[in-house]
Symmetry: C2
Subunit: 138 residues, 2 copies
Amino acid sequence: MKIDIDTVLREHGIQPSAQRVAVAQYVLNTTAHPTAEKVAAEVRKTFPMISRATVYNTLNLMVEHGLLREFVLDDGTTVFDANVGSHHHFVDDETGRIHDIPWDSLKVSKLEALEGFEVREYQVVLRGRLRGTSRRRS
Amino acid sequence: MKIDIDTVLREHGIQPSAQRVAVAQYVLNTTAHPTAEKVAAEVRKTFPMISRATVYNTLNLMVEHGLLREFVLDDGTTVFDANVGSHHHFVDDETGRIHDIPWDSLKVSKLEALEGFEVREYQVVLRGRLRGTSRRRS
DNA sequence: ACACGCGCAAGACTAAGTCTAACTTTAGAC
DNA sequence: GTCTAAAGTTAGACTTAGTCTTGCGCGTGT
Ligand SMILES: [Mn+2]
Ligand SMILES: [Mn+2]
Ligand SMILES: [Zn+2]
Ligand SMILES: [Zn+2]
């Protein structure tokens, strides 16, 4: 399950360090789309003395090197996504949680007909409720 | 071209005032998707003494009353959109400017097949270059 | 004249993120 | 094994966007 983070970092041109490994270990093994502060909080459970600046530095480094993607929610929150391939996002209205939607689950057509726009990339952002989440108490 | 802002506000349950009319006048008549600070700057050209808090209050009020929609860009910037109907957005890579894409220009299919997700609304966000914008000097 | 309610203004405050400058730690070189 | 330069880390200052607080001014009704 947990592959060699050290190697992953090196393969992407990032010099490993205890702090970087701790951050990568967490953020590459969650699908929760955590914020930077959430990452800091989680990492501190096992590496209490890591600084805020280092967490941000590491996350930004990983984004620059394509190990991570940044995603901004509708309310302005910035989260990090270990899933760097093309996919869509579904935001749960009730919890705010983000769920990945596989690229092939949706199809966007008529893109080529968009006169004047040269589309490099796109994404569908959906919002709604999880089915079966029929109003359970908080 | 410029309809009676006073009436528009009242029709949406907002008590008009000089400041509110000034803000609405600008923000309802642009397709530029301005930030709050941009709105403040523009409004001050004709109403120099308006406070930052009032600009924010008015924009938020208009959003609450459905006169305006808030939209958050990929870089986290929050902008306001007078186009409150369903539409998609195209972000110009070079200038960062946002262009509205009419709802019917695109079609997203297979939505109903998304098991477990009850979609309330969605939007396609596209990024790329404007065709014909072939590298003119800045 | 008085008082209430509403809206506005100014500035304090907050949260997310970046930057700075000093300090460790590391990787090589010897 | 030492030494040293480069790279990494740190605490805290700073910035930016936005919210909150508090007091003030003004119109309306009595
Ligand atoms: Mn970033
Ligand atoms: Mn807002
Ligand atoms: Zn994702
Ligand atoms: Zn728009």
